[in-house]
Amino acid sequence: MEQHPRRLLTVVTESTIESHLLRDMERWGAHGYTITEARGKGARGVREGNWEANRNLRIEVVCDDVTADRIAAGLREHYYDNYAMILYTCDVDVLRREKF
């Protein structure tokens, strides 16, 4: 079956900034996103997810390389220093490329 290479960009970050972050990611070229509720631990300590202030979101965006780079650059510039956040990308194959 014909498959098309794309990038999957995953961000784990504070849920407080959800609406701002999504707006920015769409501005930087994301055509869609998937969100799951998460908790975790990292450089900024434990985020247990048991009340407003310490919930994480795990946001996934499937997109082309250029968009992935643009989003990653945007996140590094505008968010990375001040928010609990990690970001990683990996190669994936998608079925219908026109969606992403």
């Binding site: 900034i17 701002h20 900024r44 048991n50 009340w51 407003e52 202030a53 919930r55 001040n82 928010y83």
Partner: protein
């Protein structure tokens, strides 16, 4: 000791002992929705009973207090606490605003002692929530932050707590006591029980702040205990000046003493992101909330009794 406070202690102790006890965050959300709506509706029922305009002067004075309180604590945080400007501003905003949880506890406290207070107090909760946020942003960013300010005001106004409190107020105002009687079995009768569960959860969250506290040391602890006491005196004085009853003055003192841990943290994360949220939450949730719940409220009650006796107002 009120049983709701025992639930808070249970949460704190379970948290410190690293028990497996967790409340699902959805339960926490349900509880806060019910409490906020109930508080709002109670206030609205009362507002319907009196001419709104008569309250205007009191409302203005309370808003003014909301602007002044953070200006008092900011220099202390900056000079004695030696905190970065953004952190000082953010913490000042937390303490200038109010905690709805603490409000619910003082209401329960007065209720179980059968002390009356002006029942439109929830209106003051709403009014006090926002000014300190605006002051905090200006303190952090300077007056040039006009657009940011508008955005923030907008976001706080549309945040969960204001929408539910104001929505409850309006519903209470429109429907009145009789109209809401049928809602009592969900919102009013189990209020103390809902508050007990909410405090159990807040106890667990408080316990999780202790490690941060330890890291940031003595200043936060002292600040988190002294600020509420001093702010309570401001609130008490204002309550007296506005001619409130003793009960009303205790509530206003407690509001002044309480520090936000819902609306303000959210606003600061967006508007002053360089401020460290661990710091302000450790102070407001880890120190001031338990202090107010366990010792502060009885203390402010005692203050008010002395003060009103002295001035012959009681």
């Amino acid at each position: 000791m009120d049983p709701v406070v025992l639930f808070f202690l249970l949460g704190v102790i379970a948290g410190i002992l690293r028990s497996e006890l967790r409340l699902p965050v959805q339960v926490y959300e349900l509880l806060s929705i019910l409490l906020l709506l109930a508080i709002g509706m109670k206030g609205g029922i009362e507002l319907a009973r009196q001419p709104f305009l008569e309250l205007a002067p009191q409302m203005l004075a309370v808003v003014a207090m909301g602007f002044v309180l953070p200006l008092l604590s900011f220099p202390v945080l900056l000079s004695i606490g030696r905190l970065p400007r953004a952190d000082a501003a953010s913490i000042a905003a937390h303490y200038g605003s109010v905690s709805v949880g603490t409000f619910a506890v003082v209401v329960a406290y007065l209720g179980s002692r059968e002390i009356d207070f002006e029942a439109y107090m929830p209106l003051f909760v709403v009014l006090l929530e926002i000014p300190a946020i605006l002051v905090g942003i200006v303190l952090a960013k300077g007056l040039a932050s006009g657009a940011k300010l508008r955005d923030s005001a907008h976001e706080v106004l549309l945040g969960k707590s204001i929408v539910l409190l104001v929505g409850g107020l309006l519903i209470g105002w429109i429907a009145g006591e009789e109209g809401l009687a049928k809602l009592a079995p969900l919102f009013f009768d189990p209020f103390q029980g809902l508050l007990a569960l909410f405090l159990l959860e807040m106890g667990l969250v408080t316990a999780s702040q202790i490690s941060t506290l330890r890291r940031y040391g003595f200043f936060l602890l002292a600040f988190g205990v002294l600020t509420p006491v001093l702010s309570a005196l401001v609130g008490l004085g204002l309550g007296w000046a506005l001619g409130l009853s003793v009960g009303g003055a205790v509530v206003l003192a407690t509001l002044a003493a309480s520090a936000s841990y819902i609306a303000v943290p959210a606003a600061m994360r967006i508007s002053v992101p360089e401020a460290n949220p661990a710091l302000s939450l450790a102070a407001s949730l880890g120190v001031t909330f338990p202090f107010n719940v366990l010792f502060g409220i009885p203390l402010y009650h005692w203050f008010a009794g002395q003060f009103y006796a002295l001035t012959g107002a009681a």
